[in-house]
């Protein structure tokens, strides 16, 4: 016989103690719900404590903070409110018995537990794409890290991952890592980017100029060689269809390769209970309360879609908590008619997918290609917004009023030449 697993009981269990989960737990507690927050790290904050650069909180706190500062503000509020939380605690499984009966199974240093909950808010963040996923072959050597691993080593544990560095990917994360390495005295030998334009914000691209770091656009790293440790990486140029150009290969000597090739929402435990996933975002299909296709399972933050601003992540956490409150009170989330939101021209991803029309909503979207002098249009309701520039790297957030939403059965969002 197995020992009996202790059984706890809550209104809401929040999975993940990053900004999305903390904001959700705070809001749920403020709304009078009995809430438990779980995180597998030893500390709260998710990835924020390792993002020591400024650039967080301009919307949410109207102040420019570093990642750890943003996290500690949320953590302080959480503690003040007396929100129950457990760190070093890993959620293994969610069980969905019925709409108001879920069980979250987790292990913590004091043993295994299961917690009953009427609603679950899933805020487990994202995972990083690794070297194999982007087709890098070669020797099995040490010295290959994802950006997040390198950042944790450097900015949590104070350990330099290497001296001569090649970074794959020029998104914000790759660029910010380039600056951290350069500041700490490592030599960043190259940032290699597959696309013909840099992936990050202009303010972060400037970092390359600050430290004279070469940026190879339309190039990719294809191979790593070394004995025990990375010694050199092979780079090749690509054409406009991203095909490798024969004969354009060259080698760069380096002891470390950093993969910063994007994030993917972490949704394994949601898939296991049959939550419908949107192939464009990699996260769940949701309504305007951020409820997934499984009633009572809500999602927020990078598990919903990859956000570039922590402010939006916290906002989504609060929205999910409000949804959970409504769900618990009414035994479900009802809408007379869901209005479906569809992607039109130059829209790569769009969240939420269904709108009720009984509340104002923010739509989050990303375009597929960079464009200038454009208009965001929703033809069904005659909405038009001028935008001077749009870039895939910058998420757009637009507000729709309930009255606007109710005007149509379906809404198509497109970004077209003005």
């Amino acid at each position: 016989m197995f020992p009996r697993i202790p059984m706890l009981s809550y209104d809401v269990v929040v999975i993940g103690g990053g900004p999305a989960g903390m904001a959700a737990a705070i809001r749920a507690k403020e709304l009078g719900l009995k809430v438990l927050l779980l995180d597998e790290n030893d500390y709260l904050g998710g990835i924020l404590p390792q993002c020591i650069h400024p650039g967080f909180g301009l919307h949410y706190y109207k102040e420019e903070l570093t990642g750890p500062e943003f996290a500690s503000r949320l953590a302080k509020r959480l503690v003040e409110l007396g929100v129950e939380y457990k760190t070093a605690t890993r959620v293994l499984e969610i069980k969905n018995y019925s709409d108001l009966e879920k069980v979250v199974i987790f292990t913590s240093p004091s043993g295994a537990y299961q917690a009953w909950a009427k609603a679950v808010i899933y805020a487990a963040g994202a995972r990083e794409r690794h070297a194999f996923e982007i087709g890098i072959v070669g020797d099995r050597v040490s010295g290959i890290y994802t950006a997040g691993e390198a950042q944790t080593l450097m900015d949590i544990y104070g350990i330099m991952p290497g001296k001569e560095i090649v970074i794959v990917g020029s998104g914000d994360v790759g660029l910010i890592m380039a600056r951290r390495f350069a500041l700490e005295g490592a030599k960043v030998k190259a940032v290699v980017e597959l696309m013909p334009y840099p992936g990050g914000l202009a303010r972060n691209v400037m970092i390359l100029r600050d430290f004279n770091i070469p940026l190879y656009l339309s190039h990719k790293v294809v191979e790593v060689r070394g004995k025990g440790r990375v010694e050199r990486v092979k780079v090749v140029r690509v054409d406009e269809n991203l095909n490798e150009i024969p004969g354009s290969e060259f080698w760069i000597e380096a002891d470390t390769l950093i993969i910063s090739a994007g994030l993917v929402p972490s949704v394994k435990k949601l898939k296991a209970i049959g939550v419908e996933i949107d192939p464009a975002t990699g996260g769940p299909v949701v309504n305007d309360r951020l409820e997934t296709s499984v009633p009572g399972i809500f999602v927020a933050g990078n598990s919903l879609l990859i956000n570039d601003l922590v402010d939006y992540v916290a906002e989504q956490g609060e929205l999910a908590a409000e949804g959970a409150k409504e769900f618990i009170e009414n035994g479900g989330i009802e809408s007379r008619k869901w209005v479906k939101v569809e992607k039109g021209e130059n829209v790569r991803l769009l969240v939420p997918h269904y709108l009720s029309g009984d509340r104002d909503v923010y739509l989050y979207l990303r375009v597929s290609k960079p464009m200038e002098d454009v208009e965001l249009r929703i033809p069904e309701i005659g909405k038009r917004m001028k935008l001077p520039v749009v870039k895939p790297a910058e998420m757009l957030r637009i507000k729709l009023r309930a009255e606007e939403i109710r005007k149509a059965k379906k809404l198509t969002v497109e970004v077209v030449k003005a």
Binding site: I52, P54, T66, M154
Partner: protein, 114 residues
């Protein structure tokens, strides 16, 4: 001498050109607002950055605390500042927002507690 860069003051991202002659700004082209112009001139004549790093801490929950300068530092002084920071060692408790050191009149502030 002409410097070209993308403005970072707001998301518009104007392409700015600053023309310099004998170490003086002659003309600024491409910006659409006065804030951008001011930034571009500062960027060419005296660029400054907020600097961040981590410092080892004894007796905390994590082995380091993160720190930042309370104000932007002239760019050419950054390597010197980094050398200063690399010699710092702290002891817990450290509070978020606490000044943990000072360098040439610039406060070094903890951004994580320990």
């Amino acid at each position: 001498m002409i410097y070209r860069f993308t403005c970072i003051v707001c998301p518009l991202g104007c392409s700015i050109e600053v023309e310099m002659e004998d170490g003086k700004v002659k003309e600024v082209r491409g910006c659409t607002c006065p804030r951008g112009k001011e930034w571009a001139i500062q960027e060419v004549t005296n660029p400054k950055r907020v600097v961040m790093s981590v410092v080892p801490v004894e007796g905390g929950a994590l082995p380091t605390v993160s720190v930042k300068t309370a104000e932007p530092v002239p760019k050419e002084k950054i390597p010197e500042l980094m050398k200063f920071l690399s010699k710092l060692k702290l002891k817990a408790p450290v509070k978020v927002g606490e000044t943990v050191a000072e360098w040439e009149g610039i406060k070094i502030v903890a951004t994580r507690g320990a």
